[in-house]
């Protein structure tokens, strides 16, 4: 098998290309050594838990087409979670089915592009093999919904006709002006932006997925979304005192209804709002604060807020 270089491969989340700078799949079983009394060396190595796969991506989010953000919003709005069966992720030709968003993280810092880290978990077998992308133009990326069997995903090089792949955008050909930037990240309240100077902003969502296994089955019969935690931290220049019982973020920390808006980079030049990643923080409570003084720097405070699903 020839070597496959990163620039010849692809990363897809829910049939949408992602501008990944790093992507990885980690799959492991849970073998434990089986010792028995009266013998030296192990009898065998035996499974004690199911197989689990973790997909990790670091990428530049695109405000116009950010599949992970859409999935995040789907999960935050889940009611009957049993009906949710996860998403499909392809990294360099290896496909994970029924992948569940474990964490979603965004970092926005002054004068820097916003970067995102995301991880997914899958409890079912992976499919496919490391392969080159075999498509020269975006028209070769068809409609993946017509691909009914997992075998269609295994070797993308066999996909010769563009009809097999629908309208998937090639992330490499996307314009970078759709990436949110530190310049275009705002904390807004009732539509008023720049209401408080904020230097760094971090967002992290973590989800607790619980697979249920039955006797006689290696793979889960259902996966439930048990809980989610959303945590945001802001680096600012004013100190926030922590309250014993917590304090609503919309109280004294800042007034009004809060939104964090990460606009695309294009906004800086055209001031045209052509999309944004928006995070509502209503109901979050302040959980910790930290004041840092360094030589040759201004006094900064880092305040974290959290809310739970």
């Amino acid at each position: 098998m020839p070597i496959v270089w990163a620039n010849n491969t692809f990363t897809l989340v829910n049939q949408t290309g992602v501008m990944a700078t790093n992507a990885s799949i980690s799959q492991s079983n849970s073998l434990i050594p089986a010792y028995n009394i009266g013998k030296y060396w192990t009898v065998n190595q035996i499974p004690s838990d199911p197989i689990k796969s973790t997909f990790s991506l670091s990428y530049y989010p695109n405000v116009g087409k950010e599949p992970n953000y859409d999935i995040l919003n789907t999960i935050r709005g889940l009611t009957d979670d049993v009906l949710y069966s996860g998403t499909r992720i392809v990294i360099a030709g290896v496909t994970g089915f029924n992948c569940y968003l474990r964490s979603y993280e965004l970092q926005s810092a002054p004068n820097n592009l916003v970067k995102a880290n995301v991880s997914y978990e899958s409890f079912t077998p992976l499919s496919g093999q490391v392969s080159n992308r075999a498509f020269a133009s975006t028209s070769d990326w068809g409609d993946l919904t017509v691909m009914s069997s997992s075998g269609d995903w295994e070797d993308l090089t066999v996909m010769s006709s563009s009809g097999d792949w629908g309208n998937i955008e090639d992330p490499v050909l996307e314009n970078f002006d759709k990436i949110p930037h530190g310049w275009t990240t705002y904390i807004s309240s009732s539509g008023n932006r720049l209401i408080a100077p904020t230097y760094d902003f971090n967002y992290k969502f973590t989800a607790d997925w619980q697979p249920t296994y039955l006797i006689g089955q290696k793979f889960p019969t259902q996966v439930n979304f048990m809980a989610g935690t959303e945590e945001m931290s802001f680096v600012r220049d004013s100190f926030t005192h922590i309250q014993f019982s917590g304090e609503e973020v919309t109280g004294s920390f800042i007034t009004g209804d809060w939104l964090i808006e990460l606009f695309n980079y294009q906004l800086i030049s055209t001031w045209a709002n052509s999309g944004a990643l928006i995070f509502d923080v209503s109901g979050a409570k302040i959980i910790d604060t930290k004041l840092v003084v360094d030589l040759n720097n201004f006094v900064r405070t880092a305040t974290s807020i959290r809310r739970h699903y």
Binding site: I46, D49, I215
Partner: protein, 294 residues
């Protein structure tokens, strides 16, 4: 010098088992001999015979010969632990916790009423690559007559089963003897606690007929290598959940008859008169307690 777990070979009925935990306890029942107005005793009296118990936890790698004593508990078990041995043990409890994707591990207690004889001998034996059964290869069987799970409702959502067997045995000592003249076998029962996703309060005052069977297989071994089942009465339901956990129903099934089902193949005389001898041929008749003629 201490030995380690590697140096103690375990044999039950001269057959090795893949034991992971072992505990042996031998007790002499001794009471202080107190005289009236005395608070202290200078001598002690034996109040019972010597007895002991063994607790074993072990992997199942095929047929579990100890499980046979669930139905034939009157047969004695011999054991040898690194040279220390007993000859008259009886199975008093046997447990399986069927948990998905976990190795099949049994836990058993054997009581014995003779001394632990012999001398400990350190051994050096290397493990072989024995295949260990796993619950991911188990098959749940619905033994109900309605084919729809019977009192359980539906066996397709079972995520855990705890099987337990308990047998009440007591030794009978004759005056002057240190060893029991015989072993009396009392009540024995089987119980299964089944965790499932059937949410119901259906439980009549008479209970409900229910049962479940688990066949153990291994992908590299042919056929069903072992099984365990309970078929009795559903007598308790529990519905519980807690933060971060599933809503689960626990069904309690007990079975007070734990013998291999007897069957009659032939009678020597089907129309005999009183006091005439009749020979009954069949299987599993050794533990017969009474016979009805009609």
């Amino acid at each position: 010098m201490y030995s380690t777990f590697k140096n103690t070979q375990i044999l039950l009925n001269n057959t090795g088992i893949l034991c992971t935990d072992l505990g042996i306890s031998v007790d002499a029942s001794i009471d202080p001999l107190l005289y009236a107005q005395d608070r202290a005793a200078l001598s002690y009296n034996a109040t019972n015979g010597i007895g002991g118990s063994i607790n074993l936890t072990y992997f199942l790698s095929g047929k579990d010969h100890l499980k046979d004593y669930v139905s034939n508990e009157r047969n004695a078990i011999s054991g040898n632990f690194g040279g220390l041995y007993f000859t008259s043990g009886y199975l008093t409890s046997y447990n399986l916790n069927c948990s998905p994707n976990n190795p099949i591990i049994a836990n058993a207690e054997i009581k014995f009423f003779d001394a632990l004889s012999g001398t400990y001998v350190k051994t050096y034996v290397r493990s072989t690559g024995t295949k260990i059964l796993n619950y991911c290869d188990a098959l749940l069987i619905d033994p109900s007559r309605d084919g729809a799970g019977g009192g359980i409702g539906n066996i397709s959502g079972i995520s855990n089963i705890q099987f337990s067997f308990n047998s009440d045995i007591s030794p009978l000592y004759l005056a002057g003897d240190q060893m029991p003249a015989e072993i009396r076998f009392g009540e024995k029962n089987l119980m299964a606690i089944i965790t499932t996703d059937i949410y119901s309060g259906d439980l009549p005052i008479t209970g409900k007929s229910a049962g479940v069977k688990v066949n153990f297989t291994h992908p590299e071994l042919a056929g069903i290598v072992e099984n365990f089942f309970v078929s009795g009465i559903l007598f308790k339901r529990e519905l519980d959940t807690s933060i971060g956990n599933l809503l689960q129903t626990k069904l309690y099934i007990k079975q007070s008859f734990a013998e291999d089902i007897p069957s009659i193949s032939s009678l020597s005389n089907a129309s005999a008169y009183p006091k005439e001898t009749i020979t009954i041929n069949g299987t599993n008749l050794l533990n017969t307690m009474f016979v009805h003629f009609a």
